[in-house]
Symmetry: none
Subunit: 209 residues, 4 copies
DNA sequence: TATGAATGAGGCTTCATTCAT
DNA sequence: TATGAATGAAGCCTCATTCAT
């Protein structure tokens, strides 16, 4: 069973600050949020902020790490591959992702952003290393969900289908979010309605075994 | 027939500057590119830059407009719905998008970013208005490509399928680009190979009429 | 004949600012003087200061360059080797250095501080390059003053004697300056008296040809 | 006979910390070394550092004191005026200074830096007072080395010659150190060679009794 | 149309120092 | 004696923007 070290005060503070930074990054974007903003909202001095994070980039990375970890936890908690039909699995994954995009857009973006894979950096930065590891675990877990049900001819064929589905879900969610206003204005349908149907079509269009 | 005003010197200059800005935004990102950078590379003074663009945001919008327009032009030039089989149409659209992402990532991003739909703003800013209009035209053109071949039960059903495909293609391309290194490292396959197959599966998975 | 380009406004401003920076560096030291201090005293905004100097280091280097150049000019103006007896030459050099230490301690220090000799840097930074060049010229000029009068057995022997004298003069001046209070307190003599005699002894102790 | 108080634990710790600070000051300079650096390298917390030293300046002064004292000890241990010829004495002093510059540049600089002579300060700060006292002792000891061999007409004449020699040695060493690279590049000779000869000339140029 | 000159506002980061325990 | 936690004040530098010409 996965164990967490009993977090000490420092770690708790770091997490609290990070959570506040997330809110600001989400609302205003990373570039438009200043360390001052973060410190103020966290009710600490700027100097204290720098006690917890080496620099602004470190805040971003730490947030990415948190998001990835909690996404992985949620996945493994909510899904047990094998205990439910593929369709349900698929829909649940879509839902979890959708929820993520809504509750933690920053974390959602991280999922498909480029992840540092350079060994030298991973060696030096534990946070980056952790991000990479969890990224791997997420991929493997998702794949294990569909591995036995996706029709394929070869291992690489399987990979393509898995990544392709992953990309499609991401694209549909992003599209729905960015174009919500337009969608409503042009077609009168709601975002939720669009997404539910889209996911459904996406599932059906694949000829599952 | 679409008409362009005969562009005067001012417009030509503006376009030239914008094109230079695009290169920089593409390489370094919008936030990390300064007006100084743009002016220097364009061989004009910063003040002159402000003669052509009210502010930095205006540069971004103008670029978005240019990208949208040239994308629309390319679409209509390369595709004549009805003159080729759906598969070919579909693949061509994927290719054009792919090429766009490669040659003009900034323009590619614009395509799915949120577009201003507020009437008041559109009234005041001709550039934003133009973006909105071309966005509409692009959508309609794309839809006209598939309209007769996508199976559907209702108008809204059709919309969903169209947007859904659009989102999927976007997601797959983005995914391939961001995860290229990972893809190669983990599966040994190339980005091109992944994309070609993904598009193919995407097409096949839809039960075209 | 050495010609200076007619200095434009920018250069004039740069020089004016540098001169103000020199005063502050002299009074408070380089590390204890802020760019803010400089800007304020120069009656310009910090931003403007950065228009004229890339960074703080550049101010230091520019000052070093100015000092070296004006020192060289003074040397060549006041001394014509061959037109006066060695003793007079020697004493004049001591005086000029002494005056420099008093009027421009910063410039005096530069004279014996380490000078950048790395080709790559000299290539990239015109100021550093200029410093290096003038440094060379100063050395050669000084040497030309004594070259025919210092007793020696070989070229390298000559170098040693020249540099050695140079070092001694520098050391005596520095010592006199730092220990002025102590000197007065302990021996009752004035700095000027000490220096005049020291230089005299230094000259006499060398067995000039 | 000089007596040291039996040093207690506190003093031992203070000395250990100071020694570490010296290394850092030597490598990076006083201004570029932070109290954090010192604490970290000494394996104590920043707060503890402040238990031993009131502030950063106190560290500097304490170091100056240590350097002066150990320099004085070394002098008196290695030299017994009267037991060896002047030349040997002179050369030994040069060597000891040279070694100091190499092993403890910080201490070397202190020797000719301005020393606090204001009674009020000396009253309040035991460290400053100690520095002043040892400074005096060093001067007197050095003078006692040459007193009987330097030709002179008056007491003040003697002072001048003593201080002058002192300044010259300091200047030559400093010069050699700062211009080492230049020296090698321009004349091909090594620093050691330059110094040995310089000291030799310096000695010979004085008409010892 | 074009620009040389200037800058206000603010960003990231650092560091000596304090204080409750 | 020792320290974990915090910070005020300041430092260097940047950048979009303005304005007189």
């Amino acid at each position: 069973m996965a164990r967490k070290k009993t977090p000490n005060l420092e770690e708790l503070n770091r997490d609290k600050i990070a959570e506040i930074a997330r809110e600001l990054f989400t609302l205003q974007g990373f570039e438009n949020t200043t360390m001052n903003d973060v410190a103020k909202k966290a009710n600490i001095s700027k100097s204290t902020l720098y006690v917890y994070f080496m620099n602004k980039e470190a805040v971003r990375n730490y947030l990415a790490m948190m998001s990835m970890n909690s996404f992985y936890e949620e996945l493994t908690e909510k899904l047990q591959p094998g205990t439910m039909p593929v369709r349900q699995l698929f829909m649940k994954i879509c839902d979890i992702l959708l929820e993520l995009k809504e509750k933690d857009p920053f974390g959602f973006a991280v999922l498909i952003e480029e992840i540092c894979v350079e060994d030298e950096m991973l060696m030096q930065d534990r946070v980056l290393a952790n991000i990479y590891e969890v990224g791997e675990k997420i991929n493997q877990f998702i794949f294990s969900c569909f591995r036995h049900d996706l029709p394929h001819r070869s291992e690489s064929d399987l990979f393509i289908k898995e990544f392709s589905l992953w990309g499609s879900i991401y694209g549909i969610i992003t599209f729905a979010d960015n174009k919500e206003k337009y969608l409503t204005k042009a077609t009168g349908m709601t975002k939720v309605h669009f997404l539910e149907n889209s996911f459904s079509y996406l599932f059906e269009s694949v000829n599952w075994k």
